[in-house]
Amino acid sequence: MSDAFKDSIQQMETLDLNVLQSFYGDLTDAEMKDVLQRFYHEAKLYHQRLMIAIEMQNVLEVIQVSHSLKSMAAISGAEQYSTLCMWIERMMRADELDELMELSLYLSPFWQELEQSIQAQLGPEVPI
């Protein structure tokens, strides 16, 4: 991947609650936490599926799962992770396996960062 891409994706917000608010409209604090929790629990399963699909080079599964993750991360304000999934989908559709493998290296660290950001928003009283 180009350095410009690496720089730009690194600079993106891990979790931008303003984006989440802009998609969902005005949410109360409790509603926002509920959305984040639901996003986390569903996205976690998709994330695991995506990791396996990439490992297995399962083309259709990579495309389908990254496609779903892209949208759900986007509306939840997970800009960086959503962009990564968008690129993974794009590279898989273009059969760019080398690029895909390079991108997949970001998946786990980005997911961990996202996990931490969500936990930070939910507070210690709501373990995810």
Binding site: F23, Y24, G25, E42, Q64, H67, S71, I75
Partner: protein, 323 residues
């Protein structure tokens, strides 16, 4: 302001997205949403509930979003055929948009979209009616798609074609004999085949050529079995996409693999293939002799391409010709 209560069916296989749609609709005055996570549930709801609008993703468990839309418009369900329909999808491919237009979908929205924007769209479409043709019009279109030559169902090769890729090795240097990859397809798809233990010397290119052979074999099978026109259309699209992918891969590989002589010869072949692709794309699929002629040309192209010097045996150091 809406004058009566509207029931809107929202369909998406991702729970979060489905809930998002559900929430967006329920926020609107006089609107209540019901949701489905797959095509089957959606179909049941369309059969049992009074639905005033359908908002659906395209890529859902069978029947997919387009199939739902077609059945509604063709009047095959108790739901009025002229209800407003919105496609809410993560991607907007030309063919999908075209199908949407054919069945007079009211709008094609691309995810992500805010609840407010979505709400405005929905309210607008509930008030401003669009002219929808009589159900017979769509029924005829649907029937035409269903009844054109043959049984090439969705299952006839599509999933198999995907599974070929799944079985491939991860590393370029781990060569996998071609027969292992095409075994699944061989029973039906032997129009073009990749010679065993052969290679261009570039793993990615081998892989793409095998996929091309498989896709054209599927197209050939569907054609010779007099399958439905929609199946033939699908296979044609897949075959043409395969050529597009090949072009794309070649462009990238040329930068990585400095083999000028090889690429010069391969480009000559690719140019011929692209000409055939253009003919295939614009061919009338009902014109059997034309398609047959194209297939013959393709077969000839393939036999030229998988011969030396482009493709060589692995086990004899390139000493044999594959023809």
């Amino acid at each position: 302001m809406l004058q009566r209560r509207f029931t809107i069916l929202v369909v998406d296989d991702v729970v979060l997205m489905c809930d998002f749609l559900y929430g967006a609709v329920n926020r609107l005055a006089n609107c209540s949403a019901i949701k489905a996570l797959d095509g089957k549930t959606a179909l049941e709801l369309l059969e049992t509930e009074t639905i005033d609008m359908l908002i659906t993703d395209l890529e859902i468990k069978a029947p997919d979003g387009l199939e739902l839309i077609k059945r509604v418009r063709a009047g095959l369900l108790p739901t009025p055929h002229d209800i407003p329909i919105i496609i809410f999808s993560g991607n907007a491919y030309l063919e999908q948009v075209q199908q949407g237009i054919n069945y007079d979908v009211h709008d094609f929205l691309v995810k992500p979209m805010s609840i407010d924007a979505l709400g405005k769209k929905v309210s607008h479409l509930l008030i401003h009616h669009k002219f929808i043709q009589p159900a017979e019009h769509y029924a005829a279109l649907y029937q035409q798609e269903q009844n054109q030559p043959g049984p090439a169902t969705k299952n006839s090769g599509h999933k198999v074609s995907a599974s070929i890729v799944l079985k491939e090795p991860q590393k370029k240097d781990e060569y996998k004999p071609a027969h292992e990859e095409v075994d699944v397809a061989k029973k039906e798809a032997d129009f073009l085949s990749w010679p065993d233990n052969s290679t261009t010397g570039i793993y990615q290119l081998d892989r793409r050529l095998k996929k091309l052979a498989f896709d054209f074999s599927c197209f050939h099978n569907v054609f010779v079995k007099n399958c439905k026109l929609i199946a033939l259309e699908t296979e044609r699209k897949r075959a043409c996409e395969s050529i597009d992918y090949l072009n794309y891969i070649v462009k990238n590989l040329q930068k990585r693999e400095p083999r000028p002589e090889f690429w010069h010869k391969f480009q000559l072949q690719l140019t011929k293939l692209n000409k055939l692709a253009l003919q295939l794309q614009s061919a009338n699929l009902r014109h059997n002799s034309l398609i047959l002629d194209l297939l013959k040309k393709l077969s000839y192209w393939w036999s030229q391409t998988i011969s030396r010097p482009l493709v060589q045996r692995i086990d004899d150091g390139g000493g044999k010709n594959h023809e």
